[in-house]
């Protein structure tokens, strides 16, 4: 990391903590976000010149609080708003600021946790939750979020404004759910991070096989959640799952940037440190959950099976099929059934796999289902049918890299038709 990158990183990481505290003290996400943004801009301007302060968080807190009070004063100076805003807030004196500076980490952690549950409140749309999580919890710039989701910056900015307005006007609370409420509220939080990771893993638009920057944000958010809720097994499992998946990124494209299937990846290129960390987090999750594995833990176990197999052929398909059975017992999902059928093909041969695939309803529009049928038919020597399935799969593929991959497989199978 260059000194500039390190500085930007410090401002971003500390900035989101300062934001969480300001939201508590001012009760207004919009005001707090603007104030922290302004403080971050001053930091990036003055720190390179004057040196990074000994306590960057305290510096940012004081600066952001001043900006927030300035904004409130400007607001109340406007005659029309005077009545609504009440008397101007007192400017904090030096003593207050010092007390604010030594706010213990535990308080900041609680502030962050409250903000997590507000940003992922089920009364907000999933789109709004994702945007808020990336802007508020990850501290990503609006332009970067807009790029990641392929919408114009103005659209993303409007989405964030609307979300903050709903929080303010509908009085969505800044509060950590009680132990009784937590099981109902946690899935929404985990779902937001999972969705960001899914989008990063297979971007829905554009040419890229993966969005590495967004993948880092997803892992970062999952890591933040484990710091805030260290005793929640599903939180640890989600981090493990994302680490296992992210570890494969270097091997997911070939020299020409084209996608490489898991079966064909050069496993030496996987990120060993990320796999090891994933395994450690999954181990903690198993210990905490005492045998009652949640859906993210099951998925993390599945990812771990692949991450620890030396080769595709070495994969423990028995265990994988067993894990898919457990996932299916929780909720009948055709996509999970599809993945299970692929594992059945590997363990029991293409005839059994094809039968399993044909037993799944509702995947007629899924390129993955057609591709899997194509593979099974090809292995059974039914080349024409296999080619037909791959052609349909290529047509249905939602992303350009996947479409090219399927077209390439079709050509490889049927060289003269290319």
């Amino acid at each position: 990391m260059t000194p500039d990158e390190l500085l930007a990183q410090t401002v971003r990481v500390e900035g989101r903590r300062v934001l969480a505290t300001l939201v508590r003290t001012f009760g207004d996400l919009e005001l707090a976000q603007d104030a922290v943004q302004e403080a971050a801009i001053s930091a990036l301007r003055t720190w390179p010149r004057d040196g990074t302060p000994a306590d960057p968080r305290a510096w940012l807190t004081v600066a952001a609080r001043r900006k927030a009070y300035d904004a409130l004063r400007r607001e109340s100076a406007r005659p029309a708003k005077e009545a609504a805003a009440g008397p101007p807030e007192p400017v904090p004196d030096h003593a207050t600021e010092v007390i604010e500076m030594v706010e213990p980490d535990s308080v900041v952690r609680d502030d962050m946790l409250r903000l997590v549950f507000t940003c992922c409140h089920p009364a907000l749309s999933r789109e709004a939750q994702v945007a808020l999580a990336l802007r508020t919890l990850a501290g990503l710039e609006v332009a970067a979020i807009a790029r990641a989701f392929l919408v114009p910056e103005a659209t993303m900015a409007k989405r964030l404004v609307r979300a903050r307005q709903k929080i303010a006007r509908a009085h969505i609370p800044y509060r950590v759910p009680s132990d009784a409420e937590l099981p109902g509220r946690l899935p929404s939080v985990l779902g937001v991070v999972y969705l960001i990771a899914t989008e990063a893993h297979a971007p829905t638009g554009g040419e890229a096989v993966a969005n590495a920057d967004l993948e880092l944000e997803a892992v970062g958010l999952a890591r933040l959640l484990t710091e805030l809720m260290p005793a929640e097994a599903e939180v640890l499992s989600l981090l493990a799952l994302l680490l296992f998946t992210a570890a494969r990124r270097p091997a997911r494209t070939d020299g020409a940037g084209e996608p490489v299937l898991l079966a064909d990846q050069d496993r030496r290129r996987w990120d060993g440190a990320a796999v090891a960390e994933g395994a450690a987090r999954l181990g903690e999750a198993v210990r905490l959950s005492g045998g009652a594995a949640g859906p993210y833990q099951l998925q993390a176990h599945l990812a771990a099976c692949h991450s620890t197999a030396r080769t595709w052929a070495d994969t423990d398909w028995d265990r994988i099929i067993g894990l898919y059975d457990l996932l299916l017992a929780r909720s009948a999902s055709p996509v999970v059934a599809l993945n299970r059928a692929v594992a059945v093909t590997e363990r029991d041969g293409p005839a059994a796999g094809l039968a399993a695939l044909d037993g799944i309803d509702g995947l007629g529009r899924s390129h993955l289902w057609h591709a899997a049928r194509g593979d099974a038919l090809g292995a059974l020597g039914r080349a024409d049918e296999a080619a037909g399935e791959l052609a349909v799969a290529a047509e249905l593929a939602p992303t350009e890299p996947e479409r090219r991959l399927l077209a390439r497989r079709l050509r490889a199978m049927n060289p003269e038709s290319g």
């Binding site: 609504a84 409140h121 009364a123 006007r169 509908a170 009085h171 969505i172 609370p173 509060r175």
Partner: protein, 131 residues
Amino acid sequence: MAQYAMLLYYPRDRYWDTPEDAEFSAVYYALKAEAARAGVLRGGEALQPAVTATTITVADGPGGDIQLTDGPYAEAKEVLGGFFLFEFADLDEAVGWAARMPAAWRGKVEIRPLAPQRPLAPQRPPAADEP
């Protein structure tokens, strides 16, 4: 504190004359009494069926031609059957109460915060009713 309207929608017009209606009425009556005791109730009524509705529009601005239509404004799938006004600390509290209304399982409940420019006089219950 914030004020909320809760709009109760049902999949069909309610005439308040079936056994289910009677059962629902009893639940609403009890909820209303409980909300009044808790000091959060600001109002709430059941509506006559939508077939009794009259929709009016005035063409070309104030003083223009009055046009009356029989029935509710739009051919909506759901029918508005009643409403409540409450004052709660936050949306979570509102959700908790809404989830106990029969419309929530028989149809749906829409929770809308009231706009601040339209202050409703807070009607605190008599002191004796307070816990």
